[in-house]
Symmetry: C2
Subunit: 388 residues, 2 copies
């Protein structure tokens, strides 16, 4: 393990996707920011914070192909999605379109909002195994109806680790008058993100996952023509027009009560650190991680005797493989399966998720800069042993 | 300046109330927690976090006179108030009672919610100067009507630094069937808090202010019989009943998307640090800070030639004094007045707030463990000079 990573070198960390990992230089930058804040809180919060947020937003916007003015910092993608879902006004009978590959945390937020409004969630059954990206677009469009108000679609699906064809999805849905909220929890740093080209009404993505920012850093992008309708979860001083000189959107999102903004402010350090690991920068890192995820999947499929459930072109830097039915994978899912516990006890951190539902499970692995081919070979050997 | 405080010793920090200040041992505890998290994210978040949150909640609950099961961690009091306001369902014509001493950030959150519902805010005019706590109860009760659904009342008012008689207010309003949300942003650590005795339906308070926890730590208390109706701003996995073994309230609030919980987990270190500064612990510290705030007000009133606007018994560890009209205090309030800027340039951090509205302003000072009488004497001299 490269000592720049703060991870325990005794453990094989194969689940970067769940909580990310933050390199030491970025954590140290964050500690310096916090120390600076504590020297004079009024200077930091009351006089300096907006300019510092702007300075951190600028390189992030460049990285994401967006205007800084359209980006808001939020603590995580669930928060970003909830800002949108709880701002919109749904009427009884309205429909919101999702896929059954969607992230459970956002599905619950949606169910809460729709339940209050008497609106309903419509689930597009995207095939899995999946052969072609067109199958995703077909499955989603088949569910569009006259009451479809919004589609909430994952850029990279959480249980199945598929990169959905979001550009095609947004274009096709926009053409039908349906706004799209892209849950890009895993997107920044894993796939190339160009938000202005994407053109979605709403996008949210984490910085703590594949950008390796400190925990608490994520982004919400709202298209200019939709900003008027969206407020943060904490409406505060910015709701008054008296804070002059910035757009309402910026005023509202930059002032959500006193919090620790050091994760946002350390984000540029994370962009720099990851971007300098390989000669080709971020592009090369993404390609390297993608290639390693594809390789990892081959190793695991060979060990488990299963077929890869999607072509490599539909993967990013994670891969999910189907697990056989086994006593370590119970019919009633708890928080963690005995298989995951057993692997963890042997020093392997992975994700094991029921999909489409227990007793069918997927094993999901990630490939980040600190991972090596031998990590997956060791995992494959342990799996064979445990599931034999 | 005691070196345990991270504050710049060249500055007189007389505005603890706005953003608090976190002592070095607490910041160091937080840094250690973050480092531990980054060693194995799965161990920290997926397997260990709930138990650690419980362990941090326990001493906080004891400090606040509450059951740990009724306490949720939130990043700040504005967030806590918004959880309640955005969970409740208001009908057109419903009324929510506030005072004009209320915190602007929560007032805006309320206006947003009421505006969507067609409900309205009713403002009780609490006298200022104030002579007796009964005047507050009278002013508030005079505004209760058949459509009053909720009262949102500050325990310690932000612009005027008054400790309102919350026990009497809650009792009188409950008797009339009106639920109360106590905005205790400044309460924990400044006044004695006994939430079970208070009996309010909802209470929120910051830990980063007078408990000196790291930024991002605050608490929401919901009375057992009101927990069913309240969800966090980010509804996530806990909305499913499948996370067994905890109440719905706890499940919902403990899982709001991946964030940095180190401020919550460092909170016990802050309770210990502040509680060990004086032989009489927290009680003596509160009494000492209160006495210093009263003394500070006397010094400032003498310098400005004004009368203290409330008896000492209505103060906590902040004090507000009226400022004379002056060119440094403009009729149209910006974010910061020229007076505040001038004081800051001379090394004094204070709060200057328009109240009830510009061109009438109040100067608010705070008294925390690191403040001394001479701080206010120096401020009084600088004020006399600037306003002469």
């Amino acid at each position: 393990m490269d000592p720049a990573w703060a991870l325990d070198p005794e453990v094989r960390h194969l689940n970067h996707g769940s909580f990310g990992a933050c390199p030491r230089p970025v954590l140290e930058a964050q500690t310096r920011i916090r120390a600076e804040a504590e020297r004079n809180l009024m200077a930091f919060y009351a006089r300096g914070l907006e300019a510092r947020l702007d300075a951190a937003r600028e390189p992030l916007a460049r990285f994401l192909g967006a205007c800084p003015e359209d980006l808001a910092f939020v603590p995580n993608a669930s928060y970003g999605a909830s800002c949108v879902l709880r701002s919109l006004r749904f009427e009884p009978g309205d429909e919101v379109l999702v896929t059954h590959h969607g992230y459970n945390g956002v599905r619950t937020a949606l169910d809460y909002v729709l339940g209050r409004a008497g609106a309903r969630r419509v689930v597009a059954e995207v095939p899995f195994p999946l052969e072609r990206p067109e199958q995703v677009v077909e499955a989603v469009l088949a569910c569009v109806g006259p009451r479809t108000r919004l589609a909430v679609l994952d850029w990279v699906t959480s249980p199945t680790a598929l990169v959905l064809p979001v550009n095609d999805l947004v274009a096709a849905l926009e053409e039908r008058g349906v706004d799209v909220l892209i849950d890009g929890a895993h997107a920044p740093g894993m796939v190339e993100v160009d938000l202005d080209r994407l053109g979605a009404a709403y996008f949210t993505g984490n910085a703590h996952k594949w950008l390796c920012a400190p925990k608490g850093a994520a982004v919400l992008h709202v298209r200019r023509d939709r900003q008027e309708g969206i407020v943060p979860l904490v409406v505060s001083h910015g709701y008054d027009a008296s804070l002059a000189g910035r757009s309402r959107f910026q005023r509202l999102f930059d002032w959500q009560g006193t919090d620790d903004p050091s994760a946002f402010l350390a984000l540029p350090a994370a962009l720099d650190f990851l971007g300098s690991l390989l000669p080709g920068g971020w592009k090369e890192l993404r390609a390297r991680n993608h290639a390693l995820a594809v390789e990892a999947r081959e190793i695991l499929c060979a060990a488990l005797g299963c077929t890869p459930p999607a072509p490599p072109s539909l993967l990013g830097s994670m891969a999910a493989v189907p697990l056989p039915r086994h006593p370590l994978l119970p019919e009633r899912p708890g928080r963690r399966t005995p298989l995951q516990e057993a692997l963890s006890a042997q020093g392997f951190e992975v994700a094991v998720v029921p999909f489409p539902a227990a007793p069918d499970y997927l094993l999901r692995v990630s490939a980040q800069a600190y991972n090596r081919r031998e990590d997956y070979e060791a995992l494959a050997a342990a799996l064979k042993e445990l599931l034999s």
